[in-house]
Protein backbone atom coordinates (compact mmCIF):
# COMPACT_ATOMS: atom_id res chain seq x y z
CA UNK A 1 0.00 0.00 0.00
CA UNK A 2 1.49 3.25 -1.12
CA UNK A 3 1.61 6.14 1.28
CA UNK A 4 -0.13 9.30 0.33
CA UNK A 5 2.14 11.88 -1.16
CA UNK A 6 3.43 14.21 1.49
CA UNK A 7 2.08 17.20 -0.38
CA UNK A 8 -1.47 15.86 0.04
CA UNK A 9 -1.11 15.24 3.76
CA UNK A 10 0.35 18.70 4.26
CA UNK A 11 -2.59 20.18 2.35
CA UNK A 12 -5.05 18.18 4.47
CA UNK A 13 -3.44 19.36 7.68
CA UNK A 14 -3.55 22.90 6.36
CA UNK A 15 -7.26 22.58 5.60
CA UNK A 16 -7.90 21.21 9.10
CA UNK A 17 -6.07 24.12 10.70
CA UNK A 18 -7.96 26.58 8.49
CA UNK A 19 -11.28 24.97 9.42
CA UNK A 20 -10.45 25.11 13.11
CA UNK A 21 -9.44 28.75 12.84
CA UNK A 22 -12.61 29.58 10.89
CA UNK A 23 -14.75 27.84 13.49
CA UNK A 24 -12.92 29.64 16.31
CA UNK A 25 -13.44 32.98 14.57
CA UNK A 26 -17.13 32.27 13.99
CA UNK A 27 -17.62 31.29 17.63
CA UNK A 28 -15.78 34.36 18.82
CA UNK A 29 -17.59 36.81 16.57
CA UNK A 30 -21.08 35.36 16.93
CA UNK A 31 -23.56 37.01 19.28
CA UNK A 32 -23.66 35.70 22.86
CA UNK A 33 -27.37 34.78 22.61
CA UNK A 34 -26.80 32.45 19.68
CA UNK A 35 -23.59 31.15 21.17
CA UNK A 36 -25.12 29.91 24.41
CA UNK A 37 -27.79 27.91 22.57
CA UNK A 38 -30.41 28.69 25.22
CA UNK A 39 -33.78 29.36 23.67
CA UNK A 40 -35.74 32.18 25.17
CA UNK A 41 -39.29 31.46 26.28
CA UNK A 42 -41.78 34.25 26.35
CA UNK A 43 -43.89 34.58 29.49
CA UNK A 44 -47.30 36.08 29.93
CA UNK A 45 -47.71 38.82 32.51
CA UNK A 46 -49.50 36.46 34.88
CA UNK A 47 -46.53 34.16 34.93
CA UNK A 48 -44.14 36.90 36.04
CA UNK A 49 -43.30 36.88 39.76
CA UNK A 50 -44.65 40.40 40.27
CA UNK A 51 -46.86 40.02 43.29
CA UNK A 52 -45.40 39.50 46.72
CA UNK A 53 -48.38 37.54 48.02
CA UNK A 54 -47.65 34.76 45.55
CA UNK A 55 -44.23 34.17 47.03
CA UNK A 56 -43.82 31.92 50.01
CA UNK A 57 -43.16 33.96 53.16
CA UNK A 58 -39.52 34.41 53.97
CA UNK A 59 -38.55 32.54 57.09
CA UNK A 60 -36.83 34.77 59.61
CA UNK A 61 -34.21 33.20 61.80
CA UNK A 62 -33.83 34.45 65.33
CA UNK A 63 -30.53 34.64 67.15
CA UNK A 64 -30.82 35.28 70.88
CA UNK A 65 -28.02 37.77 71.43
CA UNK A 66 -27.38 40.87 73.48
CA UNK A 67 -25.92 43.89 71.72
CA UNK A 68 -22.14 43.66 71.65
CA UNK A 69 -20.05 46.00 73.79
CA UNK A 70 -19.35 49.30 72.02
CA UNK A 71 -22.03 48.59 69.41
CA UNK A 72 -24.09 51.59 70.49
CA UNK A 73 -21.00 53.80 70.45
CA UNK A 74 -20.23 52.67 66.92
CA UNK A 75 -23.83 53.43 65.99
CA UNK A 76 -23.48 56.95 67.39
CA UNK A 77 -20.28 57.52 65.44
CA UNK A 78 -21.81 56.10 62.27
CA UNK A 79 -24.93 58.24 62.48
CA UNK A 80 -22.82 61.35 63.15
CA UNK A 81 -20.61 60.55 60.15
CA UNK A 82 -23.67 59.97 57.98
CA UNK A 83 -25.15 63.32 58.95
CA UNK A 84 -21.88 65.14 58.34
CA UNK A 85 -21.47 63.39 55.00
CA UNK A 86 -25.03 64.33 54.01
CA UNK A 87 -24.20 67.97 54.78
CA UNK A 88 -21.00 67.86 52.71
CA UNK A 89 -22.67 65.97 49.88
CA UNK A 90 -25.48 68.50 49.75
CA UNK A 91 -23.01 71.37 49.62
CA UNK A 92 -20.56 69.76 47.13
CA UNK A 93 -22.32 67.58 44.60
CA UNK A 94 -19.04 66.49 43.05
CA UNK A 95 -18.05 64.74 46.28
CA UNK A 96 -21.27 62.74 46.32
CA UNK A 97 -20.90 61.85 42.63
CA UNK A 98 -17.29 60.73 43.07
CA UNK A 99 -18.10 58.67 46.17
CA UNK A 100 -21.10 56.96 44.57
CA UNK A 101 -19.14 56.22 41.40
CA UNK A 102 -16.28 54.74 43.42
CA UNK A 103 -18.70 52.71 45.51
CA UNK A 104 -20.50 51.33 42.47
CA UNK A 105 -17.23 50.43 40.79
CA UNK A 106 -16.00 48.67 43.91
CA UNK A 107 -19.27 46.75 44.24
CA UNK A 108 -19.19 45.71 40.59
CA UNK A 109 -15.55 44.64 40.84
CA UNK A 110 -16.30 42.66 43.98
CA UNK A 111 -19.29 40.95 42.36
CA UNK A 112 -17.25 40.14 39.28
CA UNK A 113 -14.40 38.68 41.30
CA UNK A 114 -16.78 36.71 43.52
CA UNK A 115 -19.03 35.29 40.83
CA UNK A 116 -16.69 34.99 37.89
CA UNK A 117 -14.23 32.32 38.97
CA UNK A 118 -12.15 32.57 35.77
CA UNK A 119 -10.97 36.10 36.56
CA UNK A 120 -8.10 35.13 38.83
CA UNK A 121 -6.70 32.31 36.61
CA UNK A 122 -6.88 34.67 33.64
CA UNK A 123 -5.10 37.37 35.62
CA UNK A 124 -2.45 34.81 36.57
CA UNK A 125 -2.04 33.73 32.94
CA UNK A 126 -1.70 37.34 31.78
CA UNK A 127 0.87 38.00 34.49
CA UNK A 128 2.85 34.94 33.43
CA UNK A 129 2.75 36.20 29.83
CA UNK A 130 4.09 39.56 30.95
CA UNK A 131 6.84 37.89 32.96
CA UNK A 132 7.80 35.76 29.97
CA UNK A 133 7.98 38.89 27.83
CA UNK A 134 10.11 40.58 30.50
CA UNK A 135 12.53 37.64 30.62
CA UNK A 136 12.78 37.53 26.83
CA UNK A 137 13.54 41.25 26.74
CA UNK A 138 16.13 41.24 29.52
CA UNK A 139 19.04 41.89 27.16
CA UNK A 140 17.28 44.54 25.11
CA UNK A 141 17.49 47.57 27.35
CA UNK A 142 14.67 49.47 28.98
CA UNK A 143 12.61 50.25 25.88
CA UNK A 144 12.97 46.74 24.44
CA UNK A 145 12.09 45.21 27.80
CA UNK A 146 8.95 47.35 28.04
CA UNK A 147 8.08 46.39 24.46
CA UNK A 148 8.46 42.62 24.92
CA UNK A 149 6.66 42.78 28.27
CA UNK A 150 3.70 44.58 26.74
CA UNK A 151 3.67 42.17 23.80
CA UNK A 152 3.58 39.23 26.24
CA UNK A 153 0.82 40.84 28.28
CA UNK A 154 -1.22 41.70 25.18
CA UNK A 155 -0.85 38.20 23.70
CA UNK A 156 -2.01 36.46 26.85
CA UNK A 157 -4.82 38.98 27.33
CA UNK A 158 -5.95 38.33 23.76
CA UNK A 159 -5.99 34.59 24.46
CA UNK A 160 -7.83 34.99 27.75
CA UNK A 161 -10.37 37.54 26.53
CA UNK A 162 -10.92 36.73 22.82
CA UNK A 163 -14.34 38.37 22.54
CA UNK A 164 -13.15 41.62 24.06
CA UNK A 165 -10.05 41.49 21.84
CA UNK A 166 -12.20 41.17 18.75
CA UNK A 167 -14.34 44.06 19.98
CA UNK A 168 -11.27 46.21 20.52
CA UNK A 169 -9.89 45.28 17.10
CA UNK A 170 -13.22 46.02 15.43
CA UNK A 171 -13.47 49.38 17.18
CA UNK A 172 -9.90 50.20 16.17
CA UNK A 173 -10.56 49.20 12.58
CA UNK A 174 -13.74 51.30 12.49
CA UNK A 175 -11.88 54.32 13.86
CA UNK A 176 -9.06 53.86 11.36
CA UNK A 177 -11.55 53.58 8.52
CA UNK A 178 -13.38 56.68 9.68
CA UNK A 179 -10.12 58.63 9.91
CA UNK A 180 -9.05 57.44 6.48
CA UNK A 181 -12.42 58.42 4.96
CA UNK A 182 -12.39 61.86 6.50
CA UNK A 183 -8.80 62.26 5.35
CA UNK A 184 -9.82 61.33 1.81
CA UNK A 185 -12.78 63.69 1.86
CA UNK A 186 -10.88 66.59 3.30
CA UNK A 187 -10.63 69.50 0.85
CA UNK A 188 -7.21 70.29 -0.56
CA UNK A 189 -5.47 73.05 1.28
CA UNK A 190 -5.74 76.38 -0.49
CA UNK A 191 -2.48 77.60 -1.83
CA UNK A 192 -2.15 80.62 0.36
CA UNK A 193 0.32 83.25 -0.55
CA UNK A 194 2.73 83.94 2.22
CA UNK A 195 2.35 87.32 3.88
CA UNK A 196 5.09 89.68 3.09
CA UNK A 197 6.93 90.24 6.32
CA UNK A 198 9.90 92.03 4.93
CA UNK A 199 10.31 95.62 6.10
CA UNK A 200 9.24 98.31 3.65
CA UNK A 201 12.03 99.60 1.54
Amino acid sequence: MADKPIVNSIAEKGDQVTNALTQFWQLVTSKPATRSGVESRNLTINELPLYAEDNSPIAQKFLPEEPLPLQREFATIRIACQQEYARVAERFKIVDTAVSHTKNTAIRANEYLTEEWTALPKAAAITVGGMAGFVLGLKRGTVGRAFTTSIGLATMAAFCYPIETVDVLKTGAAHAEQTWNSFQESPPTANKSKPNLSPPK
Partner: protein, 94 residues
Amino acid sequence: MPRSEDEVGQKIDRCFADSLLKLTGGVAIGIVASVAFFKSRSWPIWFGSGVGLGTGWSNCRHDFAQPFVLHGKKVPAGQDSQGKPAYNIVVEKQ
Protein backbone atom coordinates in the same frame (compact mmCIF):
# COMPACT_ATOMS: atom_id res chain seq x y z
CA MET B 1 -40.96 48.40 59.93
CA PRO B 2 -37.28 49.43 60.09
CA ARG B 3 -35.72 51.09 57.08
CA SER B 4 -33.25 49.00 55.13
CA GLU B 5 -30.56 51.67 55.65
CA ASP B 6 -31.00 51.25 59.39
CA GLU B 7 -30.77 47.48 59.16
CA VAL B 8 -27.56 47.70 57.13
CA GLY B 9 -26.26 50.31 59.52
CA GLN B 10 -26.97 48.05 62.46
CA LYS B 11 -25.07 45.25 60.75
CA ILE B 12 -22.14 47.58 60.13
CA ASP B 13 -22.12 48.56 63.81
CA ARG B 14 -22.21 44.93 64.84
CA CYS B 15 -19.38 44.20 62.41
CA PHE B 16 -17.16 46.95 63.82
CA ALA B 17 -17.91 46.05 67.42
CA ASP B 18 -17.38 42.33 66.78
CA SER B 19 -14.17 42.89 64.80
CA LEU B 20 -12.80 45.18 67.51
CA LEU B 21 -13.61 42.55 70.12
CA LYS B 22 -11.91 39.80 68.13
CA LEU B 23 -8.93 41.98 67.31
CA THR B 24 -8.44 42.92 70.94
CA GLY B 25 -8.75 39.29 71.98
CA GLY B 26 -6.24 38.21 69.34
CA VAL B 27 -3.74 40.88 70.34
CA ALA B 28 -4.15 40.01 74.02
CA ILE B 29 -3.59 36.30 73.41
CA GLY B 30 -0.65 37.22 71.16
CA ILE B 31 0.97 39.34 73.86
CA VAL B 32 0.54 36.63 76.48
CA ALA B 33 1.87 33.96 74.12
CA SER B 34 4.76 36.17 73.08
CA VAL B 35 5.85 36.84 76.66
CA ALA B 36 5.17 33.32 77.95
CA PHE B 37 6.40 31.11 75.14
CA PHE B 38 8.30 33.00 72.45
CA LYS B 39 10.94 35.09 74.25
CA SER B 40 9.03 38.36 73.66
CA ARG B 41 9.17 38.09 69.89
CA SER B 42 6.68 40.28 68.09
CA TRP B 43 5.26 37.84 65.55
CA PRO B 44 2.69 36.18 67.89
CA ILE B 45 1.09 39.60 68.39
CA TRP B 46 0.83 40.14 64.63
CA PHE B 47 -0.44 36.60 64.20
CA GLY B 48 -3.08 37.10 66.91
CA SER B 49 -4.22 40.40 65.45
CA GLY B 50 -4.44 38.80 62.00
CA VAL B 51 -6.52 35.95 63.33
CA GLY B 52 -8.77 38.41 65.15
CA LEU B 53 -9.26 40.59 62.08
CA GLY B 54 -9.92 37.56 59.90
CA THR B 55 -12.50 36.22 62.32
CA GLY B 56 -14.27 39.56 62.45
CA TRP B 57 -14.21 39.82 58.65
CA SER B 58 -15.64 36.33 58.25
CA ASN B 59 -18.41 37.02 60.77
CA CYS B 60 -19.24 40.20 58.88
CA ARG B 61 -19.46 38.37 55.59
CA HIS B 62 -21.83 35.80 57.07
CA ASP B 63 -23.91 38.51 58.69
CA PHE B 64 -24.29 40.42 55.43
CA ALA B 65 -25.01 37.23 53.48
CA GLN B 66 -28.01 36.40 55.68
CA PRO B 67 -30.61 39.13 55.38
CA PHE B 68 -33.30 37.35 57.35
CA VAL B 69 -31.56 36.95 60.68
CA LEU B 70 -33.00 38.82 63.63
CA HIS B 71 -30.73 39.64 66.54
CA GLY B 72 -32.42 40.14 69.85
CA LYS B 73 -33.30 38.49 73.12
CA LYS B 74 -35.96 36.21 74.55
CA VAL B 75 -37.99 37.62 77.39
CA PRO B 76 -39.85 35.10 79.59
CA ALA B 77 -43.61 35.62 79.33
CA GLY B 78 -45.27 33.21 81.68
CA GLN B 79 -46.34 29.79 80.53
CA ASP B 80 -48.26 28.54 77.55
CA SER B 81 -51.36 26.34 77.64
CA GLN B 82 -49.30 23.15 78.04
CA GLY B 83 -47.34 24.48 80.98
CA LYS B 84 -44.13 25.10 79.07
CA PRO B 85 -42.34 28.38 79.57
CA ALA B 86 -43.24 30.92 76.87
CA TYR B 87 -40.96 33.65 75.61
CA ASN B 88 -41.45 36.89 73.76
CA ILE B 89 -38.85 37.77 71.20
CA VAL B 90 -37.58 41.33 71.55
CA VAL B 91 -35.62 42.39 68.50
CA GLU B 92 -32.50 44.42 69.07
CA LYS B 93 -33.04 48.11 68.37
CA GLN B 94 -30.70 50.99 67.93
